[in-house]
C-alpha cells in the first residue's frame, strides 16, 4: 500500500505531559478515516502537529513521500495537505465567488498578481462557478458571506478546500454548529468528495462517523487506543473505558 500521508511515532510534550504520545497513522489515496476521542484526548494538538502549527518533539510527518515534519503550515498546504476549521473561518465581506477564485489563484501561484483581475480570467471564473455549483451554492456566488446562512458557509469552506486540489483533506468537525435541517446537505457534499482524496475527519457526531468512515481511530490521553473498522469500535472494551470510565461496565451505552 502506498501511503500518501504517513505519521510516524509523533510525540509532543507540554511540560511533563505527553499530549501526543507515540501516535502513528497511515493513509492511502481514497481513504475515509474518522478520528474520534473524548474531550482532552489530544485531537486538536494532533491536528496542529500535522498541519504544522506546532512542531513535535519527535516523530515524522510524511506527505506524498516527502518529509514535511519541519515545514510550516503554508508549505504543507502547498504540498496538498489542506484542512477545514471547526468554526467557520471565512472573509465576511467577500463573496463566495471571490473566496473560491482566490483559492484557485493561490493554487496556481497567481494570487500575487497586481495588474490582473480574476474576473477577466475565464478559466478561473468557470472553475469557481463549477465548484460552487457542485456544492449547491452557485446562486449565492455574488452575495457577501456575512449574508449567507451558516450551513451554506460550511459548504463554502468545503469548496475552498477543494479549490486547492488537496491530496489529503483534514475535516475538523464539518457539521459542527449546523442546524439539523442542513446536515444532510453537508453529509452529501462529504460523500461526494473526490474518490482518490484521502480524508481524515475529526468528529463527535457518531451518526456521521459511522456513515462516513471505513476506518475509525480512537485517541485517548494522547495515544491511539483503537484503529479498526466502525463495527468493531463500539464493542472495544478500551474505547468504552475511555469514553465512559468506570460506568463502561455498569450501564449499557446510550
Amino acid at each position: 500500500m502506498s501511503a500518501i500521508f504517513d505519521v510516524r511515532n509523533l510525540r509532543k510534550m507540554f511540560g511533563g505531559l505527553a499530549v501526543t504520545n507515540d501516535v502513528s497513522l497511515s493513509m492511502a489515496p481514497g481513504d475515509r478515516v474518522a478520528l474520534i476521542g473524548p474531550n482532552g484526548a489530544g485531537k486538536t494538538t494532533f491536528v496542529n502537529l500535522v498541519t504544522g502549527n506546532i512542531l513535535p518533539n519527535s516523530g515524522t510527518v510524511t506527505l506524498g513521500g516527502e518529509d514535511v515534519t519541519r515545514l510550516g503550515p503554508t508549505q504543507r498546504v502547498r504540498r496538498g495537505l489542506v484542512r477545514s476549521f471547526q468554526v467557520t473561518r471565512l472573509f465576511s465581506e467577500m463573496t463566495p465567488e471571490e473566496h473560491v477564485s482566490l483559492a484557485i489563484l493561490q493554487r496556481e501561484g497567481r494570487s500575487g498578481k497586481m495588474f490582473a483581475s480574476h474576473r477577466a480570467m475565464p478559466g478561473v471564473m468557470d472553475e469557481a462557478h463549477a465548484l460552487l455549483a457542485k456544492l449547491g451554492i452557485a446562486q449565492l456566488a455574488g452575495h457577501r458571506v456575512s449574508e449567507i446562512a451558516y450551513g451554506q458557509q460550511r459548504l463554502l469552506e468545503l469548496a475552498l478546500a477543494l479549490a486547492l486540489k488537496p491530496k489529503v483533506l483534514l475535516l475538523d468537525e464539518p457539521a459542527a454548529g449546523v442546524p439539523q435541517s442542513d446536515t444532510a446537505r453537508i453529509e452529501q457534499a462529504i460523500a461526494d468528495l473526490p474518490a482518490d482524496l484521502a480524508v481524515l475527519m475529526i468528529e463527535h457526531d457518531m451518526d456521521l462517523v459511522f456513515r462516513f468512515a471505513k476506518r475509525v481511530i480512537v485517541l485517548a490521553a494522547g495515544e491511539i487506543i483503537f484503529d479498526g473498522s466502525p463495527d468493531a469500535v463500539t464493542k472495544d472494551a478500551r474505547v468504552r473505558q475511555a469514553y465512559l470510565g468506570s460506568y463502561a461496565d455498569a450501564r449499557s451505552v446510550a
Binding site: 502547498r78 476549521f85 472573509f91 465581506e93 494570487s111 498578481k113 483581475s117 477577466a120
Partner: protein, 333 residues
Amino acid sequence: MALLTTSLSTTGDRRARLTRDAIGVLVIAAFALVGYFLFPNNLALLTRITAIALLVLSLDLVTGYCGVATLGHAALFGAGAYGAGIAAAHFGITDPIAMLAVGIVSGAIAGLISGVVVLRAHGLPQLVLSIAIIHLAHEAANKASGWTGGSDGLAGIMPDAVFGLWQFDLWGRTAYVFGIVLLIVAFVILRQIVRSPFGMLCRGIRQDPVRVRAMGASVHGTLIKMYAISGAVAGAGGALNAISTQVVGLDSLSFTLSAEALVMLVLGGTGSLYGALIGTITFMWFEDVVSAANPFHWLTIVGALLIAVVLFAPKGLYGSVAAYFERRGRKGR
C-alpha cells in the same frame, strides 16, 4: 452555454468597472478644476491637500485594506520628501520627474523597513512600534542636520521646469497641475492593485489571516509587499510636497502628521480609495476654514466634527453613504 454566459458577464463587469474608474478620474479632475478657479490665490493649500491625499491613500493601503494599525506612516512621506529634497539640494538632481522618482524609491525603502519592524507585532504593540519608528525617524532627521538642515528645514531646493516646458511659478499653478496629474495616475494604479488578486489577498488578510494561511498563502510576504507599495505612494506625496514648497521641514516626519493622516482616513472611511480622498479634502478644508474663522477655538470645532462623524457615521463619510446606497440597492433588487 455556462461558459458563454460567464465570459459574457466578465466582459460586462469589466466595462462597468472601467466606466466607474473613468467617472472617478473625471470627478477628481472636475474637483481640481473647480478648486483652481474658485481659489486661484490658494493653490499652495490645494497642492498641500493633494500631497497629503497621497499620504492618506498610502495609509489606506496598509490600514484600510490590510488591517495594520500604524501611527507612524508619516515616516514614509517624510522619507520621500527628504529623498527628493536632498537629491535636489545636495546632488543637483533638480529635474522634477527625477526628484519624484527619488522620492518614490526613498518612500518604498522606508516602507520596507517600517514594514519589517511594524509587522513583527500585532495590535497594540504594533501601534507602539509604529510610534517608535516615527520618533526615531524624526530624531534622525533632526540630528543629521548637515544633510537635512535639522530644525531649520532643508532649503535650496530649486526644481527645473517640468519636461523643460513648465516653470514652477510664484502662484503655484505648475505645482498644482503637477500634483493633480500625479494624484490621478496614483489613483488609477491603486484602483487596479486593490481589485487585483493581490488586493483580494490583502483584504483576506485583514478579515482572517488564519484562513489566508490555510489557503497556503504567505501573510507576512504579502503585507511586506503592500508596505513597500504604500511607501512608494507616500513617498510620491512627500516628493510633491518638497517640489511644490521647495523646502522640507521636520514636520513632514512628525507624529502629528501620522496621527492626522489616520484621522483623515477614518473621517472619510477606511478600505476605500474614495474614502481616503474625501477624508483628506474634508479635514484639510474644514481645518483651513475654521482656523481662519475662529483662530482661538478651531481645534475644539475640529474635535467636535470628529466626534460627530465617529458617533453618527462610524464607517466614515464615504463609507456610510456607500453602505446606505448598497442597502437601498439590495432592497430594490
